[in-house]
Amino acid sequence: MTFSRRARVLMGVAAAIALAFIYVPLAVVLVNSFNPSRVFSWPPQGLTLTWWAKAAQNDGVRSAVGTSVKAGLGATLIAMILGSMIAFAVVRYDWFGRTAISFLIILPIALPGIITGIALNSTITTVLQPLGISFGLLTVIIGHATFCIVLVFNNVAARLRRTGRVLEEASMDLGATSLQTFRLVTFPLIRSALIAGALLAFALSFDEIVVTTFTAGPDIQTLPQWIFNNLFRPNQAPIVNAVAAVLVLAFIIPVYLAQRLSEGGAGGRF
Protein backbone atom coordinates (compact mmCIF):
# COMPACT_ATOMS: atom_id res chain seq x y z
CA MET A 1 0.00 0.00 0.00
CA THR A 2 1.32 3.47 -0.78
CA PHE A 3 0.41 6.74 0.90
CA SER A 4 0.72 10.35 -0.10
CA ARG A 5 3.46 12.42 1.52
CA ARG A 6 0.86 14.23 3.60
CA ALA A 7 -0.65 10.98 4.89
CA ARG A 8 2.79 9.67 5.78
CA VAL A 9 3.64 12.83 7.75
CA LEU A 10 0.31 12.65 9.58
CA MET A 11 0.85 9.01 10.48
CA GLY A 12 4.34 9.79 11.69
CA VAL A 13 3.02 12.54 13.93
CA ALA A 14 0.28 10.25 15.28
CA ALA A 15 2.82 7.54 16.07
CA ALA A 16 5.09 10.08 17.78
CA ILE A 17 2.21 11.30 19.94
CA ALA A 18 1.26 7.77 20.92
CA LEU A 19 4.83 6.88 21.83
CA ALA A 20 5.32 10.15 23.73
CA PHE A 21 2.12 9.47 25.62
CA ILE A 22 3.51 6.14 26.82
CA TYR A 23 7.19 6.88 27.25
CA VAL A 24 7.54 10.52 28.39
CA PRO A 25 6.47 9.71 31.98
CA LEU A 26 9.00 6.88 32.05
CA ALA A 27 11.67 9.24 30.78
CA VAL A 28 10.80 11.74 33.50
CA VAL A 29 11.37 9.07 36.15
CA LEU A 30 14.67 8.12 34.58
CA VAL A 31 15.89 11.73 34.35
CA ASN A 32 14.78 12.49 37.88
CA SER A 33 16.77 9.59 39.26
CA PHE A 34 19.91 11.49 38.19
CA ASN A 35 18.62 14.87 39.40
CA PRO A 36 20.49 16.18 42.49
CA SER A 37 17.41 18.12 43.65
CA ARG A 38 15.10 16.36 46.13
CA VAL A 39 12.00 17.72 44.48
CA PHE A 40 11.13 17.63 40.83
CA SER A 41 12.64 20.55 38.94
CA TRP A 42 13.05 21.24 35.27
CA PRO A 43 15.57 21.48 33.76
CA PRO A 44 17.66 19.20 36.04
CA GLN A 45 20.26 21.14 37.95
CA GLY A 46 23.01 18.59 37.49
CA LEU A 47 23.84 14.94 37.26
CA THR A 48 24.33 12.65 40.25
CA LEU A 49 24.45 8.95 41.08
CA THR A 50 23.67 9.60 44.75
CA TRP A 51 20.14 8.24 44.59
CA TRP A 52 21.22 5.13 42.73
CA ALA A 53 23.88 4.43 45.38
CA LYS A 54 21.40 5.06 48.19
CA ALA A 55 18.82 2.82 46.56
CA ALA A 56 21.37 0.03 46.24
CA GLN A 57 22.23 0.30 49.94
CA ASN A 58 18.69 0.64 51.21
CA ASP A 59 17.69 -2.38 53.33
CA GLY A 60 14.00 -1.89 52.62
CA VAL A 61 14.64 -2.01 48.88
CA ARG A 62 16.88 -5.04 49.12
CA SER A 63 14.46 -7.10 51.15
CA ALA A 64 11.53 -6.02 48.97
CA VAL A 65 13.39 -7.04 45.81
CA GLY A 66 14.15 -10.40 47.42
CA THR A 67 10.51 -10.94 48.33
CA SER A 68 9.33 -9.95 44.86
CA VAL A 69 11.82 -12.26 43.14
CA LYS A 70 10.82 -15.18 45.36
CA ALA A 71 7.11 -14.51 44.84
CA GLY A 72 7.62 -14.12 41.09
CA LEU A 73 9.64 -17.32 40.74
CA GLY A 74 7.19 -19.30 42.88
CA ALA A 75 4.13 -18.05 41.00
CA THR A 76 5.86 -18.60 37.64
CA LEU A 77 6.83 -22.15 38.53
CA ILE A 78 3.27 -23.03 39.53
CA ALA A 79 1.98 -21.33 36.39
CA MET A 80 4.37 -23.23 34.13
CA ILE A 81 3.37 -26.59 35.52
CA LEU A 82 -0.38 -26.07 35.83
CA GLY A 83 -0.73 -23.79 32.79
CA SER A 84 0.95 -26.15 30.36
CA MET A 85 -0.85 -29.19 31.77
CA ILE A 86 -4.23 -27.50 31.33
CA ALA A 87 -3.22 -26.35 27.84
CA PHE A 88 -2.48 -29.97 26.88
CA ALA A 89 -5.74 -31.20 28.33
CA VAL A 90 -7.78 -28.54 26.56
CA VAL A 91 -6.06 -28.65 23.16
CA ARG A 92 -5.08 -32.30 22.78
CA TYR A 93 -8.05 -34.08 24.30
CA ASP A 94 -11.75 -33.80 23.72
CA TRP A 95 -13.77 -34.02 26.90
CA PHE A 96 -17.00 -32.78 28.35
CA GLY A 97 -16.73 -29.18 29.56
CA ARG A 98 -13.43 -28.34 27.99
CA THR A 99 -14.55 -25.01 26.50
CA ALA A 100 -15.99 -24.03 29.87
CA ILE A 101 -12.70 -24.87 31.57
CA SER A 102 -10.65 -22.90 29.09
CA PHE A 103 -12.92 -19.90 29.67
CA LEU A 104 -12.61 -20.26 33.45
CA ILE A 105 -8.82 -20.37 33.15
CA ILE A 106 -8.71 -17.13 31.16
CA LEU A 107 -11.26 -15.31 33.34
CA PRO A 108 -8.89 -14.28 36.23
CA ILE A 109 -6.88 -12.00 33.91
CA ALA A 110 -10.03 -10.04 33.07
CA LEU A 111 -11.36 -10.05 36.61
CA PRO A 112 -10.57 -6.79 38.50
CA GLY A 113 -7.58 -7.36 40.76
CA ILE A 114 -9.50 -6.06 43.71
CA ILE A 115 -12.14 -8.79 43.33
CA THR A 116 -9.47 -11.48 43.11
CA GLY A 117 -7.78 -9.84 46.10
CA ILE A 118 -10.90 -9.80 48.27
CA ALA A 119 -11.77 -13.36 47.29
CA LEU A 120 -8.30 -14.63 48.11
CA ASN A 121 -8.19 -12.64 51.32
CA SER A 122 -11.36 -14.15 52.68
CA THR A 123 -10.31 -17.62 51.50
CA ILE A 124 -7.04 -17.30 53.36
CA THR A 125 -8.77 -16.02 56.49
CA THR A 126 -11.53 -18.59 56.55
CA VAL A 127 -9.92 -21.69 55.02
CA LEU A 128 -6.12 -21.54 55.03
CA GLN A 129 -5.56 -19.93 58.43
CA PRO A 130 -7.46 -22.64 60.32
CA LEU A 131 -5.18 -25.10 58.46
CA GLY A 132 -2.13 -23.29 59.77
CA ILE A 133 -1.20 -21.35 56.64
CA SER A 134 -1.13 -17.66 57.45
CA PHE A 135 -0.50 -14.53 55.39
CA GLY A 136 3.03 -14.46 53.99
CA LEU A 137 5.12 -15.35 50.98
CA LEU A 138 3.17 -18.54 50.26
CA THR A 139 -0.18 -16.74 50.08
CA VAL A 140 1.32 -14.10 47.76
CA ILE A 141 2.63 -16.87 45.50
CA ILE A 142 -0.79 -18.54 45.41
CA GLY A 143 -2.46 -15.21 44.69
CA HIS A 144 -0.10 -14.36 41.84
CA ALA A 145 -0.32 -17.86 40.38
CA THR A 146 -4.06 -17.39 39.75
CA PHE A 147 -3.40 -14.89 36.98
CA CYS A 148 0.09 -16.12 35.96
CA ILE A 149 -1.41 -19.47 34.89
CA VAL A 150 -3.37 -17.65 32.20
CA LEU A 151 -0.25 -16.32 30.48
CA VAL A 152 1.47 -19.70 30.31
CA PHE A 153 -1.79 -21.39 29.33
CA ASN A 154 -2.47 -18.92 26.50
CA ASN A 155 1.02 -19.16 25.04
CA VAL A 156 1.30 -22.93 25.23
CA ALA A 157 -2.28 -23.56 24.04
CA ALA A 158 -1.77 -21.29 21.01
CA ARG A 159 1.42 -23.12 20.10
CA LEU A 160 -0.18 -26.54 20.51
CA ARG A 161 -3.09 -25.50 18.33
CA ARG A 162 -0.75 -24.20 15.67
CA THR A 163 1.51 -27.24 15.55
CA GLY A 164 -1.41 -29.68 15.51
CA ARG A 165 -1.26 -33.40 16.18
CA VAL A 166 0.37 -34.48 12.96
CA LEU A 167 4.00 -34.12 14.11
CA GLU A 168 3.26 -36.27 17.13
CA GLU A 169 1.60 -38.83 14.88
CA ALA A 170 4.64 -38.78 12.60
CA SER A 171 6.87 -39.41 15.60
CA MET A 172 4.82 -42.39 16.79
CA ASP A 173 4.63 -43.68 13.25
CA LEU A 174 8.42 -43.71 13.13
CA GLY A 175 8.48 -45.92 16.22
CA ALA A 176 8.74 -43.43 19.08
CA THR A 177 6.81 -44.21 22.27
CA SER A 178 4.61 -41.54 23.85
CA LEU A 179 7.41 -40.53 26.21
CA GLN A 180 10.02 -40.30 23.44
CA THR A 181 7.57 -38.29 21.37
CA PHE A 182 7.08 -35.81 24.19
CA ARG A 183 10.82 -35.48 24.83
CA LEU A 184 11.97 -35.24 21.21
CA VAL A 185 9.08 -33.54 19.43
CA THR A 186 6.32 -32.04 21.58
CA PHE A 187 8.46 -30.38 24.24
CA PRO A 188 10.99 -28.80 21.83
CA LEU A 189 8.07 -27.39 19.86
CA ILE A 190 6.35 -25.78 22.84
CA ARG A 191 9.55 -24.82 24.72
CA SER A 192 9.80 -21.28 23.37
CA ALA A 193 6.10 -20.63 24.00
CA LEU A 194 6.50 -21.96 27.54
CA ILE A 195 9.47 -19.66 28.20
CA ALA A 196 7.65 -16.67 26.70
CA GLY A 197 4.66 -17.36 28.93
CA ALA A 198 6.91 -17.75 31.96
CA LEU A 199 8.70 -14.45 31.29
CA LEU A 200 5.41 -12.60 30.98
CA ALA A 201 4.08 -14.32 34.09
CA PHE A 202 7.16 -13.30 36.06
CA ALA A 203 6.93 -9.72 34.82
CA LEU A 204 3.26 -9.53 35.74
CA SER A 205 3.86 -10.99 39.18
CA PHE A 206 6.80 -8.67 39.82
CA ASP A 207 4.81 -5.46 39.43
CA GLU A 208 1.49 -6.66 40.87
CA ILE A 209 0.20 -4.62 43.80
CA VAL A 210 -3.56 -5.01 44.23
CA VAL A 211 -3.74 -8.77 44.79
CA THR A 212 -0.48 -8.54 46.74
CA THR A 213 -2.00 -6.03 49.16
CA PHE A 214 -4.78 -8.47 50.00
CA THR A 215 -2.61 -11.57 50.29
CA ALA A 216 0.73 -10.42 51.76
CA GLY A 217 -0.23 -9.62 55.32
CA PRO A 218 1.79 -7.25 57.51
CA ASP A 219 5.06 -9.18 57.66
CA ILE A 220 6.34 -9.05 54.12
CA GLN A 221 6.59 -6.35 51.49
CA THR A 222 7.09 -6.74 47.75
CA LEU A 223 8.91 -4.12 45.73
CA PRO A 224 5.78 -2.45 44.30
CA GLN A 225 4.43 -2.23 47.84
CA TRP A 226 7.67 -0.67 49.02
CA ILE A 227 7.55 1.88 46.19
CA PHE A 228 3.93 2.71 46.95
CA ASN A 229 4.62 3.13 50.65
CA ASN A 230 7.69 5.32 50.12
CA LEU A 231 6.51 7.41 47.18
CA PHE A 232 4.98 10.14 49.34
CA ARG A 233 7.78 10.38 51.83
CA PRO A 234 9.86 13.40 50.76
CA ASN A 235 13.13 11.82 51.86
CA GLN A 236 12.56 8.66 49.91
CA ALA A 237 11.13 10.08 46.67
CA PRO A 238 14.45 10.29 44.76
CA ILE A 239 15.34 6.73 45.78
CA VAL A 240 11.97 5.59 44.49
CA ASN A 241 12.84 7.19 41.17
CA ALA A 242 16.11 5.26 40.99
CA VAL A 243 14.37 1.97 41.87
CA ALA A 244 11.67 2.60 39.29
CA ALA A 245 14.29 3.38 36.63
CA VAL A 246 16.06 0.09 37.33
CA LEU A 247 12.76 -1.76 37.06
CA VAL A 248 11.93 -0.17 33.71
CA LEU A 249 15.28 -1.20 32.29
CA ALA A 250 15.11 -4.66 33.87
CA PHE A 251 11.68 -5.29 32.36
CA ILE A 252 12.43 -4.29 28.81
CA ILE A 253 14.59 -7.41 28.48
CA PRO A 254 12.15 -10.17 29.49
CA VAL A 255 9.23 -8.58 27.64
CA TYR A 256 11.34 -8.18 24.50
CA LEU A 257 12.49 -11.81 24.76
CA ALA A 258 8.95 -13.03 25.36
CA GLN A 259 7.74 -11.27 22.25
CA ARG A 260 10.58 -12.67 20.15
CA LEU A 261 9.87 -16.16 21.45
CA SER A 262 6.16 -16.13 20.76
CA GLU A 263 6.78 -14.74 17.27
CA GLY A 264 9.52 -17.28 16.62
CA GLY A 265 6.96 -20.02 16.27
CA ALA A 266 7.52 -23.72 15.92
CA GLY A 267 10.45 -23.24 13.59
CA GLY A 268 12.17 -20.77 15.91
CA ARG A 269 15.70 -20.99 17.12
CA PHE A 270 14.81 -22.08 20.64
Binding site: V166, L167, E169, A170, S171, M172, D173, L174, G175, A176, T177, Q180, L184, V185, P188, L189, A266, G267
Partner: protein, 374 residues
Amino acid sequence: MAGSESVDGAERGTLPADAVASSTDPGSAAPAIRLRGLRKEFGAVTAVDGVDLDVEDGEFLTLLGPSGSGKTTVLRMIAGFELPTSGLVELAGVDVSRKPPFDRDVNTVFQDYALFPHMSVQDNVEYGLRVRKVDRAQRSARAQEALATVRLSGYGTRRPNELSGGQRQRVALARALVNRPRVLLLDEPLGALDLKLREQMQLELKDIQREVGITFVFVTHDQEEALTMSDRIAVFNAGKIEQIGPPAQVYEKPATEFVAGFVGTSNLLSGDVARRVLGHDGTWSIRPEKITLSPSSPSAPTVPSPTSEVRFATGTIRDVVYLGDLTRFVVDLNGGGTLTAIEQNLDQSSADVLGLQGTNTTLEWQRKYEFRIA
Protein backbone atom coordinates in the same frame (compact mmCIF):
# COMPACT_ATOMS: atom_id res chain seq x y z
CA MET B 1 -22.53 -54.45 0.02
CA ALA B 2 -26.18 -54.58 1.06
CA GLY B 3 -26.58 -56.04 4.52
CA SER B 4 -23.09 -55.43 5.82
CA GLU B 5 -24.20 -56.97 9.10
CA SER B 6 -24.52 -60.42 7.59
CA VAL B 7 -21.22 -59.97 5.74
CA ASP B 8 -19.60 -59.05 9.04
CA GLY B 9 -21.08 -62.10 10.69
CA ALA B 10 -19.92 -64.43 7.96
CA GLU B 11 -16.42 -63.00 8.07
CA ARG B 12 -16.21 -63.36 11.82
CA GLY B 13 -17.24 -66.97 11.51
CA THR B 14 -14.30 -67.73 9.23
CA LEU B 15 -11.76 -65.65 11.10
CA PRO B 16 -10.40 -68.01 13.74
CA ALA B 17 -9.44 -70.59 11.14
CA ASP B 18 -7.79 -67.92 9.02
CA ALA B 19 -5.94 -66.49 11.98
CA VAL B 20 -4.60 -69.88 12.99
CA ALA B 21 -3.58 -70.71 9.46
CA SER B 22 -1.77 -67.45 8.98
CA SER B 23 -0.09 -67.45 12.37
CA THR B 24 1.39 -70.89 11.80
CA ASP B 25 2.55 -69.84 8.37
CA PRO B 26 3.79 -66.27 8.40
CA GLY B 27 6.13 -64.91 5.75
CA SER B 28 5.34 -65.06 2.09
CA ALA B 29 1.98 -66.81 2.33
CA ALA B 30 0.17 -64.03 4.23
CA PRO B 31 -0.61 -60.83 2.33
CA ALA B 32 1.25 -57.71 3.42
CA ILE B 33 -2.03 -56.23 4.61
CA ARG B 34 -5.31 -57.96 5.20
CA LEU B 35 -8.41 -56.00 6.18
CA ARG B 36 -11.58 -57.81 7.18
CA GLY B 37 -14.94 -56.20 7.95
CA LEU B 38 -13.22 -52.96 8.84
CA ARG B 39 -15.59 -50.32 10.24
CA LYS B 40 -15.01 -46.90 11.76
CA GLU B 41 -17.68 -44.68 13.25
CA PHE B 42 -17.12 -41.11 14.42
CA GLY B 43 -20.17 -40.44 16.57
CA ALA B 44 -23.17 -40.90 14.31
CA VAL B 45 -21.08 -40.82 11.12
CA THR B 46 -19.87 -44.07 9.60
CA ALA B 47 -16.61 -43.19 7.86
CA VAL B 48 -15.63 -46.72 6.90
CA ASP B 49 -18.40 -49.23 6.41
CA GLY B 50 -17.17 -52.80 6.16
CA VAL B 51 -13.98 -52.89 4.07
CA ASP B 52 -12.35 -56.19 3.05
CA LEU B 53 -9.01 -55.87 1.30
CA ASP B 54 -5.85 -57.90 0.67
CA VAL B 55 -2.67 -56.10 -0.37
CA GLU B 56 0.06 -58.33 -1.77
CA ASP B 57 3.75 -58.01 -0.92
CA GLY B 58 5.49 -55.47 -3.15
CA GLU B 59 2.26 -54.19 -4.63
CA PHE B 60 1.47 -50.54 -5.41
CA LEU B 61 -2.15 -50.19 -4.35
CA THR B 62 -4.04 -46.92 -4.65
CA LEU B 63 -7.08 -46.03 -2.57
CA LEU B 64 -8.99 -43.66 -4.82
CA GLY B 65 -12.10 -41.73 -3.91
CA PRO B 66 -13.59 -38.29 -3.27
CA SER B 67 -12.97 -36.54 0.05
CA GLY B 68 -15.03 -38.09 2.81
CA SER B 69 -15.16 -41.48 1.11
CA GLY B 70 -13.21 -43.16 3.94
CA LYS B 71 -9.93 -43.83 2.11
CA THR B 72 -7.80 -41.76 4.47
CA THR B 73 -9.52 -43.27 7.50
CA VAL B 74 -8.65 -46.75 6.20
CA LEU B 75 -5.02 -45.63 5.84
CA ARG B 76 -5.02 -44.19 9.36
CA MET B 77 -6.37 -47.45 10.74
CA ILE B 78 -3.58 -49.37 9.00
CA ALA B 79 -1.04 -46.92 10.49
CA GLY B 80 -2.66 -47.12 13.93
CA PHE B 81 -3.71 -43.48 14.34
CA GLU B 82 -7.34 -44.57 14.52
CA LEU B 83 -8.63 -47.76 16.10
CA PRO B 84 -11.37 -49.56 14.18
CA THR B 85 -14.87 -49.64 15.68
CA SER B 86 -14.92 -53.25 14.54
CA GLY B 87 -13.05 -55.49 12.14
CA LEU B 88 -9.51 -56.66 11.67
CA VAL B 89 -6.20 -55.20 10.50
CA GLU B 90 -3.50 -57.81 9.82
CA LEU B 91 0.05 -57.03 8.77
CA ALA B 92 1.91 -60.04 7.34
CA GLY B 93 -0.51 -62.35 9.07
CA VAL B 94 -0.29 -60.71 12.51
CA ASP B 95 -3.35 -59.03 14.01
CA VAL B 96 -2.41 -55.42 14.86
CA SER B 97 -5.96 -54.04 15.14
CA ARG B 98 -5.45 -52.76 18.69
CA LYS B 99 -1.73 -51.95 18.58
CA PRO B 100 -0.34 -48.39 18.80
CA PRO B 101 1.45 -46.88 15.76
CA PHE B 102 4.93 -47.51 17.16
CA ASP B 103 4.27 -51.26 17.36
CA ARG B 104 3.42 -51.59 13.66
CA ASP B 105 5.90 -52.27 10.88
CA VAL B 106 4.51 -49.55 8.62
CA ASN B 107 5.57 -45.98 7.97
CA THR B 108 3.57 -43.06 6.68
CA VAL B 109 4.30 -40.18 4.32
CA PHE B 110 1.92 -37.44 5.38
CA GLN B 111 -0.02 -35.08 3.19
CA ASP B 112 1.80 -31.98 4.45
CA TYR B 113 4.99 -33.98 5.07
CA ALA B 114 5.00 -33.47 8.88
CA LEU B 115 8.75 -32.91 8.98
CA PHE B 116 10.05 -31.90 12.41
CA PRO B 117 10.77 -28.18 12.01
CA HIS B 118 13.30 -28.07 14.86
CA MET B 119 15.55 -30.74 13.35
CA SER B 120 17.88 -30.78 10.37
CA VAL B 121 17.05 -32.93 7.35
CA GLN B 122 19.60 -35.49 8.52
CA ASP B 123 18.05 -35.64 12.02
CA ASN B 124 14.59 -35.94 10.52
CA VAL B 125 15.64 -38.93 8.44
CA GLU B 126 17.53 -40.52 11.35
CA TYR B 127 14.59 -40.11 13.72
CA GLY B 128 13.09 -43.59 13.31
CA LEU B 129 16.50 -45.20 13.86
CA ARG B 130 17.30 -42.95 16.80
CA VAL B 131 14.17 -43.85 18.76
CA ARG B 132 14.90 -47.53 18.07
CA LYS B 133 18.39 -47.08 19.56
CA VAL B 134 20.36 -47.82 16.40
CA ASP B 135 23.95 -46.70 17.00
CA ARG B 136 25.06 -43.34 15.73
CA ALA B 137 27.43 -44.43 12.95
CA GLN B 138 24.97 -46.86 11.46
CA ARG B 139 22.02 -44.52 11.53
CA SER B 140 24.05 -41.74 9.92
CA ALA B 141 25.12 -44.09 7.11
CA ARG B 142 21.60 -45.38 6.55
CA ALA B 143 20.12 -41.87 6.54
CA GLN B 144 22.62 -40.77 3.92
CA GLU B 145 21.77 -43.82 1.86
CA ALA B 146 18.07 -43.00 2.11
CA LEU B 147 18.70 -39.38 1.11
CA ALA B 148 20.64 -40.66 -1.89
CA THR B 149 17.68 -42.85 -2.85
CA VAL B 150 15.46 -39.77 -3.05
CA ARG B 151 18.25 -37.78 -4.78
CA LEU B 152 18.87 -35.38 -1.90
CA SER B 153 22.48 -36.17 -1.03
CA GLY B 154 24.18 -33.15 0.49
CA TYR B 155 21.00 -31.62 1.91
CA GLY B 156 21.44 -33.18 5.37
CA THR B 157 22.40 -30.02 7.24
CA ARG B 158 19.47 -27.94 5.98
CA ARG B 159 16.33 -27.19 7.91
CA PRO B 160 12.97 -28.30 6.46
CA ASN B 161 11.90 -24.66 6.03
CA GLU B 162 14.87 -24.09 3.72
CA LEU B 163 13.59 -26.68 1.23
CA SER B 164 11.07 -26.45 -1.60
CA GLY B 165 7.81 -28.39 -1.50
CA GLY B 166 9.16 -31.14 -3.74
CA GLN B 167 12.31 -31.49 -1.65
CA ARG B 168 10.32 -31.70 1.59
CA GLN B 169 8.24 -34.41 0.02
CA ARG B 170 11.40 -36.40 -0.72
CA VAL B 171 12.72 -35.92 2.81
CA ALA B 172 9.42 -37.28 4.13
CA LEU B 173 9.84 -40.26 1.83
CA ALA B 174 13.45 -40.83 2.93
CA ARG B 175 12.46 -40.54 6.60
CA ALA B 176 9.93 -43.33 6.10
CA LEU B 177 12.07 -45.55 3.84
CA VAL B 178 15.11 -45.48 6.14
CA ASN B 179 13.26 -47.75 8.57
CA ARG B 180 12.81 -50.37 5.85
CA PRO B 181 9.16 -50.89 6.73
CA ARG B 182 7.17 -53.76 5.30
CA VAL B 183 4.54 -51.32 4.09
CA LEU B 184 4.70 -47.65 3.19
CA LEU B 185 1.50 -45.62 3.52
CA LEU B 186 1.22 -42.42 1.49
CA ASP B 187 -1.57 -39.98 2.30
CA GLU B 188 -2.04 -37.72 -0.74
CA PRO B 189 1.70 -36.96 -0.68
CA LEU B 190 1.67 -35.03 -3.95
CA GLY B 191 -1.40 -32.93 -3.22
CA ALA B 192 0.55 -29.76 -2.35
CA LEU B 193 2.83 -29.81 -5.40
CA ASP B 194 2.21 -27.97 -8.65
CA LEU B 195 1.23 -29.92 -11.75
CA LYS B 196 4.65 -30.30 -13.41
CA LEU B 197 6.37 -31.35 -10.20
CA ARG B 198 3.52 -33.70 -9.38
CA GLU B 199 3.84 -35.53 -12.69
CA GLN B 200 7.58 -35.82 -12.20
CA MET B 201 7.18 -37.12 -8.63
CA GLN B 202 4.58 -39.66 -9.77
CA LEU B 203 7.14 -41.30 -12.02
CA GLU B 204 9.89 -41.03 -9.39
CA LEU B 205 7.71 -42.55 -6.69
CA LYS B 206 6.94 -45.48 -8.95
CA ASP B 207 10.67 -45.91 -9.71
CA ILE B 208 11.58 -45.80 -6.03
CA GLN B 209 8.90 -48.33 -5.22
CA ARG B 210 10.32 -50.74 -7.83
CA GLU B 211 13.81 -50.08 -6.49
CA VAL B 212 13.09 -50.79 -2.81
CA GLY B 213 10.40 -53.42 -3.41
CA ILE B 214 8.23 -52.27 -0.51
CA THR B 215 4.43 -52.48 -0.54
CA PHE B 216 2.97 -49.01 -1.19
CA VAL B 217 -0.54 -48.02 -0.21
CA PHE B 218 -1.26 -44.67 -1.79
CA VAL B 219 -4.26 -42.47 -1.05
CA THR B 220 -5.42 -39.92 -3.61
CA HIS B 221 -8.52 -38.27 -5.00
CA ASP B 222 -6.77 -37.69 -8.34
CA GLN B 223 -7.85 -40.41 -10.78
CA GLU B 224 -5.05 -39.60 -13.22
CA GLU B 225 -2.48 -40.11 -10.48
CA ALA B 226 -4.10 -43.42 -9.59
CA LEU B 227 -4.09 -44.61 -13.19
CA THR B 228 -0.43 -43.57 -13.71
CA MET B 229 1.13 -45.24 -10.69
CA SER B 230 -0.87 -48.17 -9.42
CA ASP B 231 -0.70 -51.91 -9.84
CA ARG B 232 -4.26 -51.98 -8.55
CA ILE B 233 -6.82 -49.33 -7.67
CA ALA B 234 -9.48 -49.60 -4.99
CA VAL B 235 -12.24 -47.07 -5.67
CA PHE B 236 -13.89 -45.81 -2.48
CA ASN B 237 -17.32 -44.30 -2.09
CA ALA B 238 -19.27 -43.64 1.11
CA GLY B 239 -16.98 -45.81 3.24
CA LYS B 240 -17.05 -48.84 0.96
CA ILE B 241 -14.94 -50.22 -1.87
CA GLU B 242 -16.93 -49.94 -5.11
CA GLN B 243 -14.42 -51.71 -7.30
CA ILE B 244 -10.89 -53.04 -7.06
CA GLY B 245 -8.67 -54.00 -9.98
CA PRO B 246 -5.81 -52.98 -12.28
CA PRO B 247 -6.04 -49.42 -13.69
CA ALA B 248 -7.05 -50.58 -17.17
CA GLN B 249 -9.86 -52.68 -15.78
CA VAL B 250 -11.19 -49.97 -13.48
CA TYR B 251 -11.06 -47.46 -16.30
CA GLU B 252 -12.32 -49.59 -19.17
CA LYS B 253 -14.84 -51.68 -17.28
CA PRO B 254 -16.24 -49.63 -14.41
CA ALA B 255 -18.29 -51.93 -12.21
CA THR B 256 -20.70 -49.30 -10.92
CA GLU B 257 -22.19 -46.01 -11.97
CA PHE B 258 -20.06 -44.26 -9.34
CA VAL B 259 -16.80 -45.68 -10.69
CA ALA B 260 -17.79 -44.79 -14.25
CA GLY B 261 -18.39 -41.21 -13.17
CA PHE B 262 -15.42 -40.80 -10.85
CA VAL B 263 -12.65 -42.45 -12.83
CA GLY B 264 -12.45 -40.40 -15.99
CA THR B 265 -15.67 -39.12 -17.50
CA SER B 266 -18.21 -41.49 -18.88
CA ASN B 267 -21.44 -41.54 -20.85
CA LEU B 268 -24.19 -43.30 -18.98
CA LEU B 269 -27.17 -44.58 -20.94
CA SER B 270 -30.19 -46.01 -19.20
CA GLY B 271 -33.93 -46.58 -19.57
CA ASP B 272 -35.53 -45.52 -22.85
CA VAL B 273 -32.33 -44.07 -24.29
CA ALA B 274 -30.44 -47.33 -23.67
CA ARG B 275 -33.24 -49.33 -25.30
CA ARG B 276 -33.39 -47.08 -28.33
CA VAL B 277 -29.64 -46.59 -28.90
CA LEU B 278 -28.25 -49.90 -27.65
CA GLY B 279 -31.26 -52.17 -27.84
CA HIS B 280 -30.87 -53.25 -24.18
CA ASP B 281 -32.36 -52.55 -20.77
CA GLY B 282 -30.19 -51.47 -17.87
CA THR B 283 -27.52 -48.81 -17.35
CA TRP B 284 -24.55 -48.78 -19.71
CA SER B 285 -21.31 -46.84 -19.85
CA ILE B 286 -19.28 -45.73 -22.89
CA ARG B 287 -16.04 -43.75 -22.57
CA PRO B 288 -16.12 -40.49 -24.60
CA GLU B 289 -12.80 -41.17 -26.37
CA LYS B 290 -14.25 -44.40 -27.83
CA ILE B 291 -16.84 -42.42 -29.79
CA THR B 292 -15.96 -40.86 -33.14
CA LEU B 293 -17.83 -38.17 -35.04
CA SER B 294 -18.51 -37.99 -38.73
CA PRO B 295 -20.72 -35.62 -40.75
CA SER B 296 -24.29 -36.85 -40.75
CA SER B 297 -24.90 -39.48 -43.41
CA PRO B 298 -28.40 -40.73 -44.15
CA SER B 299 -27.08 -44.20 -44.86
CA ALA B 300 -26.17 -44.94 -41.26
CA PRO B 301 -28.61 -47.37 -39.63
CA THR B 302 -30.47 -45.77 -36.74
CA VAL B 303 -32.04 -48.90 -35.31
CA PRO B 304 -29.50 -50.96 -33.36
CA SER B 305 -28.94 -54.42 -34.69
CA PRO B 306 -28.00 -57.03 -32.08
CA THR B 307 -25.42 -58.61 -34.39
CA SER B 308 -23.57 -55.56 -35.68
CA GLU B 309 -20.18 -54.81 -34.05
CA VAL B 310 -20.46 -51.08 -34.83
CA ARG B 311 -23.02 -48.71 -33.33
CA PHE B 312 -24.36 -45.49 -34.78
CA ALA B 313 -26.37 -42.63 -33.37
CA THR B 314 -27.31 -39.32 -34.96
CA GLY B 315 -27.74 -35.99 -33.29
CA THR B 316 -26.93 -32.29 -33.12
CA ILE B 317 -23.69 -30.89 -31.66
CA ARG B 318 -24.78 -28.72 -28.74
CA ASP B 319 -21.38 -27.77 -27.27
CA VAL B 320 -17.80 -27.76 -28.49
CA VAL B 321 -15.05 -27.42 -25.86
CA TYR B 322 -11.58 -26.88 -27.28
CA LEU B 323 -8.98 -28.28 -24.83
CA GLY B 324 -5.79 -27.79 -26.83
CA ASP B 325 -4.76 -31.37 -27.47
CA LEU B 326 -8.37 -32.58 -27.44
CA THR B 327 -11.83 -31.35 -28.30
CA ARG B 328 -14.92 -32.38 -26.35
CA PHE B 329 -18.24 -32.53 -28.19
CA VAL B 330 -21.58 -32.71 -26.40
CA VAL B 331 -24.17 -34.16 -28.73
CA ASP B 332 -27.97 -34.13 -28.23
CA LEU B 333 -29.24 -37.35 -29.78
CA ASN B 334 -32.20 -37.28 -32.10
CA GLY B 335 -35.05 -38.69 -30.03
CA GLY B 336 -33.51 -37.73 -26.63
CA GLY B 337 -30.42 -38.36 -24.58
CA THR B 338 -26.92 -36.89 -24.67
CA LEU B 339 -23.52 -38.37 -25.52
CA THR B 340 -20.11 -36.78 -24.99
CA ALA B 341 -17.30 -37.59 -27.44
CA ILE B 342 -13.63 -36.64 -27.24
CA GLU B 343 -11.42 -36.37 -30.31
CA GLN B 344 -7.72 -35.72 -30.59
CA ASN B 345 -6.91 -32.58 -32.53
CA LEU B 346 -4.70 -34.40 -35.03
CA ASP B 347 -5.16 -32.01 -37.91
CA GLN B 348 -7.92 -29.67 -36.88
CA SER B 349 -7.61 -26.22 -35.34
CA SER B 350 -9.91 -24.59 -32.81
CA ALA B 351 -11.60 -22.64 -35.63
CA ASP B 352 -12.44 -25.92 -37.41
CA VAL B 353 -13.99 -27.60 -34.40
CA LEU B 354 -15.80 -24.55 -33.06
CA GLY B 355 -17.48 -24.17 -36.46
CA LEU B 356 -19.13 -27.55 -35.93
CA GLN B 357 -21.40 -26.31 -33.17
CA GLY B 358 -25.08 -26.67 -34.11
CA THR B 359 -24.45 -29.03 -37.03
CA ASN B 360 -25.80 -32.54 -37.41
CA THR B 361 -23.46 -35.44 -36.85
CA THR B 362 -23.30 -39.20 -36.71
CA LEU B 363 -21.63 -40.84 -33.73
CA GLU B 364 -19.94 -44.19 -34.13
CA TRP B 365 -18.38 -46.64 -31.66
CA GLN B 366 -17.44 -50.29 -31.27
CA ARG B 367 -19.96 -52.39 -29.44
CA LYS B 368 -17.21 -53.95 -27.30
CA TYR B 369 -16.75 -50.60 -25.51
CA GLU B 370 -20.27 -50.68 -24.03
CA PHE B 371 -20.26 -51.85 -20.44
CA ARG B 372 -23.26 -52.71 -18.39
CA ILE B 373 -22.96 -51.31 -14.87
CA ALA B 374 -26.49 -51.85 -13.59
